[in-house]
């Protein structure tokens, strides 16, 4: 697992919940909201899918960490690592 993989996981989830979005040019450092049409319901879905598909928990107070792909990778990577070890 590396941070690029984490980004891919997040992007795949977005592709699943928002199939009408064009994800070919998503910039890692820019807020997802600023380049895609995602609202708080969609972010809830990203969190729910992370739990469902990967057993990763994101408490509500920390949803903000998923703002961009970069910040998601920083925030989620240790969680994926911890999972892999466990």
């Amino acid at each position: 697992m590396d941070k690029e993989k984490v980004k891919k996981i997040v992007l795949d989830i977005i592709a699943e919940i928002a199939p009408d979005e064009d994800l070919t040019d998503v910039k890692s450092e820019i807020r997802l909201r600023d380049q895609l049409d995602l609202d708080s319901m969609d972010f809830l879905d990203i969190v729910m899918e992370l739990r469902k598909q990967h057993g990763i928990e994101v408490p509500e107070a920390e949803y903000r960490q998923l703002e961009s792909l970069d910040s998601s990778a920083e925030y989620l990577f240790p969680k994926f690592e911890a999972k892999a070890v466990a």
Partner: protein, 485 residues
């Protein structure tokens, strides 16, 4: 499949994470949303079909939708994503294309001296307002800005601000105010002669800023994919089985008693049957209901089926909201029905794909009706009055269609089938007290009740219509159950 349903196992003593009461649009949407994330869900419906006010029935070998005139919120060209309907599809993971929606031709709001047209291009609606009310331009623009700045979907939004008064603060021509209120009230006001501003903004956007559409096969296009997904995900559903009583203890629901005497347990209960209807089921319910809380708006709807396509008569429009006076009365009439105002729907006049069309013409007319007067009738009189009121309604409505009066003369003979739907029918099929179309004037936006694990979804959240009720159901599932996990 029918086999599985008939031999349904006993529920007595079972526990579910969530029980959803009512398989109308709100109940279906919330049940699916919860099943998507692995909740154990039981959906209970006392009727034998799903859909609630939006179900379907067969008559004379034909299939009819109960409550589908128009699916609102059809995303306009080029700005698809702003529509709540797209949000809804995303939340339920149903591809928008699967709904097979066809847009309206055009529709009208017809008052004595004003005939405003609109279609799914908002700019056309704006040009019509400008054409008919040139002096209101600046003020109307200011109203639009006020509406844009208002987050009508927020769970915290105040539900008791009068749209009539806000319109009055912005506009000077009373007729424009009435013309804006007429379609929005008909499509979702639970209060008389007004609509709360949040609902007004939602419905204005749903009808004018976005638009109207319909699937050629009707409401089943919505119901089928939801049920299919729900079942694939292992969601449980029981038809012909209602909740009779909700037993509470220490501010929480402890147990539900079903119509067949069984008892079940749930961590969370979502009720879509209405605020007063739900309160009446509580074990702690007091005998007296505040009558102010029971909705007074009910309707009579007639459907006429004929061989010709309506366009052959020169009827090209999809929906007509009509009113025979400068003031729009949206209230429980003194008589059985008030034919002076209503809504015409011609479901043939959506732009279906090339070569596809409904096989027969349909004309649907809806007027406001008085529930008390309709229930007071004995069976014979009920049948007689349905016929009398239908004729009176049609007579006025035809006056709003091109050459309607003359074509109407022999429409009766051409008619292959008639059906009529009264306030009594609404109560019979949905349990809504007083046949209230849009529920109680008392709304609970965030779905909360005095009981920590009991929430209201659908009409009495102030989310109405097909798209609205479903969004409401999704919001309750998200905010009350999934988020807090």
């Amino acid at each position: 499949m029918p086999e599985a349903r008939r031999t349904s196992e006993a529920l007595d003593g079972h526990h579910f994470e969530v029980v959803v009461i009512g398989a109308g649009m709100a109940g279906l949407a919330s049940a699916l949303r919860l099943a998507m994330f692995g909740k154990s869900v039981l959906l209970l419906e006392k009727h034998y079909v799903v859909g609630g006010l939006n179900s379907f029935f067969a008559r004379g070998g034909r299939k009819f939708d109960v409550g589908l005139h128009a699916v609102t919120n059809f995303p306009p060209n080029g700005s698809a994503k702003v529509s709540p309907l797209i949000r809804l599809c995303r939340q339920l993971r149903i591809p928008f294309e699967e709904l097979a929606l066809s847009p309206q031709s055009f529709s009208r709001v017809a008052f004595p001296d004003v005939d405003l047209r609109f279609d799914n291009e908002f700019s056309f609606f704006l040009s019509e307002v400008e054409r008919l009310f040139p002096r209101e331009q600046d003020r109307f623009q200011k109203l639009l800005r006020t509406m844009e700045a208002f987050d009508a979907y927020s769970p915290e939004v105040a539900g008791d601000v009068s749209a009539r008064s806000i319109l009055g603060e912005h506009l000077q021509e009373p007729l424009l105010i009435e013309i804006l209120l007429c379609p929005t009230c008909y499509y979702g006001s639970a209060v008389e002669n007004d609509i709360d501003f949040a609902s007004f903004v939602m419905l204005f956007d749903a009808i004018f800023r976005q638009g109207l559409a319909r699937p050629l096969d009707g409401i089943r296009r919505f119901l089928d994919p939801i049920l299919k997904r729900y079942e694939e995900l292992g969601g449980k559903r029981r038809m012909n089985l209602g909740v009779k009583r909700i037993f509470t203890k220490n501010d929480k629901v402890e147990r539900l008693e079903l119509d067949n005497g069984e008892s079940i347990f749930a961590d969370h209960v979502i009720s879509t049957c209405g605020v007063v209807e739900t309160e009446q089921m509580l074990s702690s319910a007091s005998a007296d209901v505040k009558t102010d809380d029971i909705g007074r708006i009910s309707i009579l709807e007639s459907i006429a089926v004929f061989k010709e396509q309506p366009a052959d008569f020169g009827w090209e429009e999809t929906i007509v909201f009509y009113n025979d006076a400068d003031f729009f009365r949206y209230e429980r009439p003194y008589e059985l029905t008030d034919p002076r105002s209503g809504v015409i729907c011609i479901p043939n006049n959506y732009r279906y794909p090339e070569g596809e069309q409904m096989p027969e013409g349909q004309l649907r007319v809806t007027c406001l009706a008085n529930y008390d007067k309709w229930v007071a009738l004995d069976e014979n009189n009920y049948r007689l009055q349905k016929e009398i009121c239908r004729k009176a309604m049609l007579d006025v409505a035809l006056g709003y269609l091109p050459n309607g009066k003359s074509i109407g003369k022999d429409l009766e003979e051409r008619t292959e089938l008639l059906d009529i739907f009264s306030p009594r029918t609404i109560t019979k099929f949905t349990g809504h007290l007083d046949g209230a179309l849009y529920g109680s004037p008392r709304k609970s936006r965030d779905g909360s009740t005095p009981f920590g694990n009991l929430y209201l979804a659908g009409a009495d959240q102030g989310y109405v219509g097909i798209v609205g009720a479903m969004l409401g159901g999704v919001a309750i599932a998200n905010n009350r159950i999934l988020r807090g996990d």
